[in-house]
Point group: C2
Amino acid sequence: MKKLYEETIKTESIYKGKIIDLELQEVVLPNGSHSKREIVNHPGAVAVICITGENKMVMVRQYRKALKKSIIEIPAGKLDAGEKPEDCAKRELEEETGIIAGILKECDSFYTSPGFANELVYVYEAENLRQGEVHTDEDEFVERMDVTLTEAKKLIRSGEIHDAKTIYAIQYWELKQYNKA
Amino acid sequence: MKKLYEETIKTESIYKGKIIDLELQEVVLPNGSHSKREIVNHPGAVAVICITGENKMVMVRQYRKALKKSIIEIPAGKLDAGEKPEDCAKRELEEETGIIAGILKECDSFYTSPGFANELVYVYEAENLRQGEVHTDEDEFVERMDVTLTEAKKLIRSGEIHDAKTIYAIQYWELKQYNKA
């Protein structure tokens, strides 16, 4: 295996924000030359696959300022300081959709943008569901919608579902149906 | 449908870098109150699903400073200014693996981190492959490895495959086998 490691020789903090920090690192490359890496530090996040008794996936429509549009995503949110991913998944699902999950099963975790950010998303599947009350954060506005697999695929084609974790969730759902069959 | 739009009333540029920019926007929320949004602007990227004649997926191991580890990903890279995603996919595949694709079929596109970044990844599937020469960027060090679907799933479980686009690609590959059957 080739030597791929990059050693950091200088770190400059550019910004410390509410959700993300930005730092600029000077690194030594495997060939000895120097380069800069722009790195966004993120606390990590969870996303929840939640299939109702009617065999629909629970989604939320939400305006995303970074994209300048609203998109339809699975329930998700960032980790609070010291919060366990499983607790966060339970909390976010309930806050955004009112659904209380008796069981949260970890599916996978993945980095969203390894080229510049350390955001890690833990994906859970919610089971033993009961309906409680929605109570979103004060700066969060979401609209719940439950969709069938066929509808979900149409929403991907129309660009209304357009983010990595939600497309992952839909593929997971489809694969599960094949693996059960 | 609820009103979800957030109007920007002030934009502050925090950083303009080599790959990303960071800006801080003050927005008016649907309920009239104000909030801040931290937004990373990114030029967009491509990723390439490439299955060899031996039914293996072409991957590259690469050190990712943001993650402080090397991971195994499908070939990928960011768009140059004005570059068409398809041309970028062809270029990145050839640079990182030496493979020249006669056909590049668009599979999907997705935002990686809609909560704070506008990075959009276009995924292509490469066909009509022939082997040329590897020629990576001067600050890029990658090691090619071709893996079977079974090996790919093991690498997910071990955390060596750990990013959204690569897990998407593996699900896509598995679904394709079911849909063909």
